[in-house]
């Protein structure tokens, strides 16, 4: 990162905070069985999906909102949320030329050009605006390889058998309160299917944008890699600045069969609220991957910098023999943000292996917790886990908590956990400064150095992006 770009970055406020002025079709606020039916009807869904939604809704009604994470937030009024909002553009267009130029412009401003001439080379993008997917690039090229990459609504219409086979099989609709809510009302999201033996020829990416102020975002992502298939997928998220809180309750399900691999990366930069904690997204997300096949691999990489509250534990259920789960995370909190994040590695099959690397940076008055579970079941002979959780504290008002649970029922397994807490020392800062490096840049160099092990896991262009994001987020938090 050049010194100029950091200087430029640290002086910027949240630059994705604009609102696109576009006519939106919204349904009335509130949640009921009728609303669930309405969403399903608007999306012209088959009966099995309506049943899935209704079952989830009834389960949700029976469940209680969890409070174990001790996250302080006011009671959410689930009747004060709009569960479906879509830009008024009835049918998804056959060609991008027909997409409302305002939408294309929005994604251009976000640095995600969708138009043919400006596209990111070798990255296919599905753009989701409020509740619906507005465009997916490179679909034809992917189709040549048998790869399906489309919005989940399209997949429901075009590949209902795949949706019925896999949806809800990794995260059951009654898994937890927010997963049940999502299962009832999910509006859109991405679907990826990589057939047997195919290595996906390009990076796949979904870009989520919340635009409406009173809309909840409930997207659902499902990625299936058949035997020997592999894919790298990245999601990015932003939202405008509102002084009210918005709920984002997504569900992501990943499935790998024998020898398949999925690499799932997230750069999360939802609006975090202002420095006094007013506004921002409540990011309550359920992400889980299931290594069903032998020797399969699921890798989660996340850079979490946004949201007022983040509550997510991308997890791996390692069923197949010799399957591998990985979790690499950077979570940065500033001002009044709260992040409670980590992973669960559930070792079921023999010789399964998992690696956890978590880097938490807490600044301002924020609170940043790592919460993880490593569970070794009785059949996981020869399983191994290595976890490393490091915290960096900036200022004496921020909290860093670490809760790494370990549960083992298998004597022939090795579990190792290490954790440390550090800060940026005055001597390190002085050393860099005495070589002509400015204060803020010195801090940002050390922070990105702290996160290096995780950034290495991101696709190249996104690693640089993540690095910039951290510098931006730390503005004014030191000194």
């Amino acid at each position: 990162m050049s010194s100029a770009s950091v200087g430029e970055l640290v002086s910027q406020p949240y630059k994705y905070g604009f609102i696109t002025d576009i006519e939106t079709e919204k349904i009335a606020k509130g949640l009921s069985e009728d609303v669930v039916r309405l969403i399903s009807a608007k999306k012209e869904e088959p009966a099995f999906l309506l049943d899935f939604r209704l079952r989830a809704y009834r389960q949700w009604l029976q469940m209680e909102e969890p409070d174990w994470a001790a996250l302080g937030y006011p009671v959410i009024d689930y009747q004060d949320i709009i569960y479906y909002a879509a830009p008024k553009q009835q049918q998804k267009k056959a060609s991008l030329d027909e997409v409302d130029p305002k939408l294309l412009e929005t994604f251009d401003k976000l640095g995600i050009p969708l138009s043919e001439q400006k596209r990111l080379s070798n990255v296919a993008v599905d753009a989701v605006f409020d509740s619906v997917s507005i465009a997916t690039t490179y679909k034809e090229k992917l189709a040549e390889h048998g790869v399906i990459f489309c919005s989940i609504s399209e997949a429901v219409k075009e590949h209902p058998e795949l949706i019925e086979k896999y949806l809800g099989t990794v995260v059951p609709s009654n898994d937890n309160y927010f997963a049940a809510l999502n299962s009832a009302v999910f509006s859109d999201g991405s679907f990826v299917f990589i057939p047997k033996g195919v290595e996906c020829p390009m990076e796949l990416s979904t870009y989520f944008r919340i635009n409406s102020g009173d809309t909840g975002q409930f997207e659902r992502t499902l990625i299936v890699a058949e035997e020997g298939a592999s894919v790298s997928y990245l999601e990015g998220c932003t939202a405008p600045m509102f002084d009210t809180n918005q709920l984002h309750a997504a569900v992501v399900e990943l499935v790998t069969l024998d020898d398949a691999s999925i690499k799932y990366s997230t750069v999360q930069n939802w609006y975090a609220g202002d420095e006094n904690g007013v506004g921002g997204i409540y990011n309550f997300v359920t992400k889980r991957g299931q290594c069903r096949g032998d020797r399969s691999r699921i890798s989660w990489t996340q850079v979490e910098t946004g949201s007022a509250i983040t509550w997510k534990y991308p997890s791996c259920v390692l069923q197949g023999a010799d399957s591998v789960g990985e979790f690499y995370s950077v979570a940065l909190t500033n001002n009044r943000q709260q992040a409670d994040t980590g992973t669960k590695m559930i070792h079921v099959g023999p010789r399964t292996r998992s690696t956890i690397v978590s880097k938490g940076i807490s600044a301002g008055h924020s609170s940043n917790s790592y919460r993880g579970l490593v569970q070794i079941g009785p059949k996981a002979v020869g399983a191994r886990n290595y976890s490393q959780c490091d915290s960096m504290l900036i200022g004496d008002q921020a909290a860093a908590n670490t809760y790494p649970y370990i549960r083992s029922q298998q004597s022939e397994a090795d579990i190792e956990h290490e954790a440390s807490t550090c800060r940026i020392s005055e001597d390190q800062l002085f050393y860099l400064q005495s070589r002509g490096i400015g204060f803020e840049q010195a801090v940002s160099m050390m922070v990105s150095g702290f996160c290096r092990d995780v950034f290495h896991q991101l696709p190249m262009e996104f690693a640089a992006e993540a690095d910039k994001l951290l510098a931006l987020k730390l503005e004014g938090s030191v000194g």
Binding site: P66, D67, W68, N176, Y177, Y313, K344, R371, L373, I376, P378, S391, L393, I394, G395, D396, Q397, A398, A399, A400, N401, T402, Y403, P404, Y405, I406, R407, S408, Q409, Q410, S411, E412, A413, D414, I415, E416, H417, E418, A419, S420, T421, C422, R423
Partner: protein, 424 residues
């Protein structure tokens, strides 16, 4: 990972849990120093019932062994033979009877507190964070145990040995100790809990360490397959004080040790070392919590587990470093040996840090005996069983070495022996 919030207050009309109701019915009217506390503990216990796995603090711990104990106070009975008193040790047997305490001669430097002093100091270290009392504390309070309350001045040359022997009878044996260490006082304490029957030892030790005081506290806990031990250690440390705890527990149907240390102004040293051995259907649970209320405190914690048979081991180690505790240096290491496929280990460190200039490291490992170490010994001609025995002994020795030499008399010969012997 979703669990119900911990509640100790039940709805008003809820029926009292039958075990609790029976115990409360069997307890005599309060006769201790603070009857109002005894009564409020009984009321709270009635409301709370038995601890449940729905409570976060008891999630991994099956409390059925508690309910299997007869809900009554343990009747004093003839003590089984105790090992000889080691040289330099001063032994006191706590059998739950006030008259036993009155008859003891104390070594130089130790004196019994007056009733007023005791009343004043009792409970001072117990509730530093102002939370509702936990279940073991409620139980202990309800039982209204006679209090052994001592003041320690200067360096006590003898090792004070406090023995609670529950024997084989049914019921609850409450043990309550209060220690006030004056500034610069030094005491070596060896506490022994023994049981061979279906009974419950409810122990509560409060220790207030003045500036520069030092308490070396060993706990040897040997129980039987139906025995229960619930032990809370509430320690408050003034600056410059040193607290070194070494515990070894084995054989209990259920043992739960709760060391809670508060460095009231930081700048003290805390060392916690523990070895818990489980086999058969035994459950051993340690919930430790160390809180730094001022700068420059130090903690060194090593928790070791040997889990065999269908044993369950739980370790929950909280370290709390608030903003005013700058330059805290804390390390926590949890090492578990899992020797059987039917045994289970749950480990949950909890680090809560709000100060930026601190060093807090923690680590955890769960594994079997190391193959390469075994191989190394075998390649030198040592048989597999012997090699395993040597390794296990070395593993345990790191903790056992922290006890006063006289403690060896209380350790069953097993600890100088091999894994088979440890199982017995």
């Amino acid at each position: 990972m979703v669990a119900a919030p911990l509640t100790t207050s039940a709805p008003v009309a809820a029926p009292v849990h039958p075990w609790v109701a029976a115990l409360l019915g069997a307890l005599p009217a309060p006769a201790g120093l603070r009857p109002e506390i005894t009564l409020s503990a009984r009321a709270a216990l009635a409301a709370a019932g038995l601890p449940s796995r729905r409570q976060d603090d008891w999630r991994f711990t099956d409390t059925a062994p508690i309910a299997a104990v007869a809900p009554q106070l343990l009747a004093p009975e003839a003590l089984p033979e105790l090992p000889p008193v080691a040289e330099g040790h001063h032994r006191v047997v706590l059998d739950g009877r006030p008259e036993t305490l009155a008859a003891i001669a104390w070594p130089a430097g130790i004196e019994v507190l007056s009733a007023d002093e005791t009343r004043d100091a009792l409970g001072r270290c117990l509730d530093p964070e102002g939370k509702a009392p936990d279940w073991p504390v409620l139980l202990q309070g309800a039982c209204d145990a006679p209090v052994l309350a001592l003041r320690v001045r200067g360096a006590v040359s003898e090792v004070l040995e406090l023995v609670s022997e529950a024997g084989s009878g049914p019921g609850v044996l409450p043990v309550r100790v209060l220690l006030l260490l004056e500034p610069e006082a030094r005491l070596e304490l060896l506490q022994v809990h023994r049981s061979s029957g279906a009974n419950l030892t409810s122990a509560l030790v409060e220790a207030d360490l003045g500036a520069g005081a030092e308490l070396r506290h060993g706990v040897v806990a040997n129980g039987g397959s139906e025995s229960v031990l619930l032990a809370r250690l509430a320690i408050r440390q003034q600056p410059g004080s040193r607290f070194a705890l070494a515990t070894v527990s084995r054989g209990w149907g259920l043992v739960r040790l709760e060391p809670r240390v508060v460095q009231s102004e930081g700048a003290a040293e805390t060392r916690l070392r523990a070895l818990q051995v489980v086999d058969e259907h035994q459950i051993a649970d340690t919930h430790s919590r160390v809180r730094f209320e001022g700068p420059e405190g130090r903690l060194e914690q090593l928790h070791k587990v040997v889990a065999d048979g269908q044993g369950r081991s739980v370790f929950n180690g909280a370290v709390v470093v608030p903003r005013l505790a700058q330059r805290t240096d804390a390390s926590q290491l949890s090492r578990s040996l899992l020797l059987s496929d039917r045994a289970r280990v749950d480990t949950k460190p909890e680090l809560e840090i709000v100060a930026d200039d601190v060093r807090c490291a923690h680590g955890a490992t769960v594994s079997s005996l190391q193959e390469d170490e075994l191989f190394y010994l075998r390649s030198r001609g040592i048989g597999a069983a012997e090699a395993a025995r040597l390794l296990l002994r070395g593993y345990c020795q790191e903790i056992l070495g922290d006890f006063p030499a006289g403690a060896a008399l209380w350790q069953a010969p097993s600890f100088s022996g091999g894994p088979e012997e440890i199982r017995r």
